[in-house]
Symmetry: D2
Subunit: 133 residues, 4 copies
C-alpha cells in the first residue's frame, strides 16, 4: 500500500507550452517524501535532532513520460523499499489514468554529523514496512 | 468570509536557522491566489483563453512578523477587494494563534494580449464578492 | 553608486505567455541581496556565525511595471540605505532602457538568537556606505 | 571541451545543516542546460518558434556525492552527447577539487506540437559537436 498524495499543477509551475517545468515536478516529488516522513511520524525536520540520524539523498532517477498541465490533479504514489543501511523511495505519478512520471530517490541512513552509514533503526523500519509493496 | 488554506512548511523550505526562506513564503502566498481562483471557478490557467482577460500583478507588499518553521501549519487567509478595474488580494497568515506574515497583491484587470485595464467582468465580481470582508 | 548585477531570464522562469512568473522575479531580487552582501564582505552565510547578528527581513514591496521574457538581460541595481538599527535595500530593475520592476526590502539589524534590534555595526555601515545614493 | 559555468551556492539555497537543498541543485543543473543552449545559439526559448522543434526531457539521473554550502563556487561542466534522434547532457559538478554531484539529462529531439522524434538537425549537431568529449 503506497503512500499517495495529489499534487495539483499550478499556473506558476507551467511553461510557454502550458506544461509543468521539470524542476517544478522535482519539487513536487521531493515534497512528497517530506509529507510521507511526516505521515509515518519521522519528519525530516525532527529525525536528526530527536533521533541522531538522517536519510541524505545519494541518487535520483526520474523518467518523464507525459507532460502535465495547470489544473491537472496528479496522484503521486510513494513506495518505500527499506534496505539494511539505505532506503529507496519509488515514485509513480499518474494523471487521467496514465503514468506522467516515475522514478526513485535512493537514500542512505547516516548518523547525523557525518559518520558513515548505519543500519536503519528498527522503529523507522517498522513505520515504513506497511507502505512497502 | 475569507478563503483559507493551510500551508505546511516543509523541511525543503527552511534555512540554516530552521525557519522558512522568504522566497518560499512568497511561493506559498502566490499558490494561495492560484487555489482561490480555481475555487471560485476562474483558474488563472483558463481565464485568458476562455474569457479573454487576465489579472496581472502590479504590486506586492508583504510584512514578515514572526518566522515559521518546518512542520508549522500556517493558515493563509485571502480576502479579495474588488475594484472597478482592479482587484486586491489581502493576505493574513497565522500560526499558533499569532500573525506570521501578511500583506497584499494588487492586480489589474486587463484584456489578454496587452490592451489597457478593463472593468472587472460582472460574473467574476459576483464570484469574488462572497469572500470580501 | 548602486551595486548592479545582470539577471538573465531563463526559459524555466517563464509562463504560458512567455513572461517571467513573479515568484521567479522575487527569487532574482533576493539573490541580488545575497550577491551584494558577499560583495561587501558580509555574506549572509557568515554574519551570524562570525559577527553574531543578522539582517532579517521585515517587509518587501515590489512593483511590476513591464514584463520580462526569457533571454532578457535585466540589470538589477541595489542601493542600500543604512539606518540606525535597520537597513533598506532599494531595487531598480531595467531592461532595454526602461524599468521592469522596482521596490525595496526592509531589514532590521538584530542579534543572532532572537534579541531585539541593535545598532548597525560600524564596520558593516562603512562597507555599505559607498553604495548609498 | 565541456561547457563550464560556475554556480555560487546562495544562503537561500541552504538547509538547516547549512548545505544546499537538492531541489536547488536540480535548479542549478537545469539552468546550466539553458545557459549552454543560449551559448551555442539555440536558446530553449527560440528553438520551437524559430526552428519548429524542441528537446523535451525524458529522464534525469543525478548522483549527489558530497554536499555543497553557501558561498561554495561549484563548477558545473556540461558535455553533450548527440545521438541520431536524441541528445544527452552529461554533468559533472566539482567544488574544491572533488566531485560534488554528477549525472545526466536525456532529451529527445521532437517536432514542436507533438509529433514523434525527429533527427537532430544538422546545424544544431554542428553547434554541439565542439563540446563533445
Amino acid at each position: 500500500m503506497s503512500y499517495d498524495r495529489v499534487w495539483t499543477v499550478r499556473f506558476s509551475d507551467t511553461d510557454p507550452f502550458g506544461i509543468a517545468h521539470y524542476p517544478r515536478i522535482v519539487d513536487a516529488l521531493h515534497e512528497t517524501s517530506d509529507m510521507f516522513m511526516e505521515e509515518i511520524g519521522y519528519p525530516f525536520w525532527e529525525i536528526s535532532q530527536d533521533h541522531g540520524f538522517g536519510l541524505p539523498l545519494v541518487e535520483i532517477d526520474f523518467e518523464f513520460e507525459s507532460p502535465v498541465e495547470a489544473g491537472d490533479d496528479v496522484t503521486i504514489a510513494l513506495t518505500p523499499e527499506v534496505g539494511t543501511r539505505s532506503v529507496r523511495f519509488d515514485y509513480t505519478a499518474t494523471c487521467g489514468g496514465s503514468v506522467a512520471f516515475e522514478g526513485y530517490e535512493q537514500r542512505v541512513c547516516a548518523e547525523h554529523g557525518g559518520g558513515g552509514a548505519i543500519e536503519v533503526p528498527a522503529d523507522l523500519r517498522d513505520a515504513m514496512v506497511p507502505y512497502e509493496e
